[in-house]
Symmetry: C2
Subunit: 348 residues, 2 copies
């Protein structure tokens, strides 16, 4: 195991599709990155079969057997207490044991968060792990938003930690030295924000992060800042809402172009343009949410990911390893503690 030739542990059984998506995605990923190894976790016989079907190059793959699978419907309790040999658990354990540098699963979010937190533990200075994802913005880049649902009732301290973890993630994955951080709030024209958000703004202002100030919902898509911080309730509702709107728009556009022979001809004429447009708003490109604040790199793929999208999640895991996400997060936490100690010490 070394950062220059990373090993990614892959829960091959998780997600809506399991092996038919995870194994081909891992193979394409390994082919694109000859320096990278894949630790395929799950039912050994089934994984071996899937590998043979796809004629895998042997060198970059290793299989780690796990006898159980956490389903999309298993409660956190079942996943954590009853299925101790689940592919999810063995995937997280591989990182804990130093056999892999990062863990990826497309399984049930709550279970994946609970298991990786239980196995890996949180970093010193982090009270609660958070879930972060990137959303495409109008500037042609992406805005990283967190928390997306791991934490419902947050204190100002938690929001500060989210800001720090988000900045570390963007530094590592997008290689930006001082990513800008915005705090999600509501407009000036109304009663401004709640108490927790006001306190969090004060903490972020004194944190040494590149804090932009308050941002509003539309700033996510304007690309006003690199990182948008909010509590998990708000983040989850926003993510689901924008996914819902995007699906509705897509469905309505398809309906309009499939209305009759004339509209279908028009659709054919416009199809190269529509294809380019779809590629730009294709959220599969941004698949791979990061579970941050843990003593290990953990990525959650969308449950419904296809092989292309799953490959993007693997790619994010690799980038996070190569660019030292963990080390970066720890450095930022140390710097924050240093500032706090400095502020507490009497100034001579």
């Amino acid at each position: 195991m070394s950062h220059s030739s990373p090993t990614i542990a892959i829960d091959c059984m998780g997600g809506d599709h399991g092996l038919p998506v995870t194994v081909p995605a891992a193979m394409a990923f390994a082919q694109a990155h000859p320096d990278t190894r894949c630790l395929l976790v799950g039912d050994e016989a089934l994984i071996r079969q899937a590998l043979q079907q796809n004629a895998a190059p042997a060198g970059q793959f290793e299989i780690l057997h796990a006898s159980e699978v956490v389903t999309m419907h298993d409660s956190v309790e079942v996943a954590l207490r009853r299925k101790k040999d689940s592919s999810m658990r063995v995937t997280a354990q591989a990182v804990k044991d130093g056999r892999a540098d990062a863990a990826v699963s497309a399984g049930n979010t709550g279970a994946w968060m609970a298991i990786s937190r239980y196995v890996l533990k949180t970093l010193d200075g982090i009270d609660r792990p958070a879930i972060a994802t990137a959303l495409p913005n109008q500037k042609g880049g992406a805005t990283t938003v967190l928390d997306l649902g791991a934490n419902v009732d947050c204190t100002a301290e938690h929001l500060l930690q989210f800001g720090l973890m988000g900045a570390a993630l963007v530094s590592a994955v997008d290689r930006r030295a001082q990513p800008s951080v915005g705090l999600l709030n509501i407009g000036e024209e109304l009663i401004k924000g709640n108490e927790v958000v006001k306190q969090a703004a004060d903490l972020l202002r004194g944190s040494g992060l590149n804090f932009y100030g308050n941002v509003e919902g539309d700033d996510i898509f304007k690309g006003t800042v690199d990182v948008v911080v909010c509590d998990g309730f708000v983040g989850n509702v926003v993510l689901k809402s924008v996914e819902g709107l995007a699906r509705m728009i897509g469905a309505m556009m398809r309906e309009e172009f499939h209305r009759n022979a004339f509209t279908m001809t028009a659709g054919l004429a416009a199809s190269p343009v529509l294809r380019r447009f779809r590629a730009r708003v294709d959220n599969r490109r941004y698949n791979g949410a990061a579970l941050l604040g843990l003593r290990g790199i953990v990525i959650k793929s969308h449950g419904s990911a296809d092989a292309y999208a799953y490959g993007q999640a693997l790619q994010r895991a690799r980038e996070a390893v190569l660019n030292g996400l963990l080390e970066g997060t720890i450095q930022r936490l140390d710097a924050l503690r240093g500032r706090a100690a400095g502020a507490a010490a009497p100034t001579a």
Copy 2:
């Protein structure tokens, strides 16, 4: 003044555009509804000038002079305490005095809420007014969402009241007898909801409303329920986020079709289809948020509304008057109090 021939008080000075939008919109509206009168509020000379430019039929219009204007940048304090003869204030006062059945303004939301609350007061049984708007959904209808930012820290009781007010609004404007009400929450796979939301679900379940249960962000656009209830922080962030995404998608599509001569020709070929598509997702159709819980019907138009969109806000005001929004809300509040009293009484 009578419900069969309603009078709408219109703040002609408010919004990004003021008179050039509000007066032509009022004239088109009056022409479409010969039973309806418009009380045009603002600078009398300027309104008279705008009316003449547009050759208005005299019978349906009356002008009410107001010497001041609340700008988009005025604080609530300035709007409320210093500009006592603002067009906004005089518009709300017209409803209070029984000269009009509903008040419409495109001015600054915070000021409009504060002024209409100060002038009209809240209904018995309503602690806080709320802002509600309709968003288009995949079923071809609209989902009403509230609160959108009037209330940042809400109790379960407040959320219950929002549910009741939202149901009354949908009953009046969309003429549905028992609109379904959903409570915005986050997914089952994660730690479920916060304490306030859990308590609110219990209250809604026992309220006599047609309570569906929890819904998620994407249910707004699926059209799972008629009314989605959330606190004002969440509602405001969701609204701004989906507006931001819609703008980004629109901008990207325009960019793709304007890339070169070939894509522009494709755009021309597809333009009838794209026009139909745009009409379906056109949020101007749903312009006109309702400020609910007040002793009078108050509508807020989007600040940037054009004459078409502003006309929709006037139309919503008219529907709310004709279908007895106020009476409906009061009846529902009485019924809720009746249930509470019944529940408190010993069962023989």
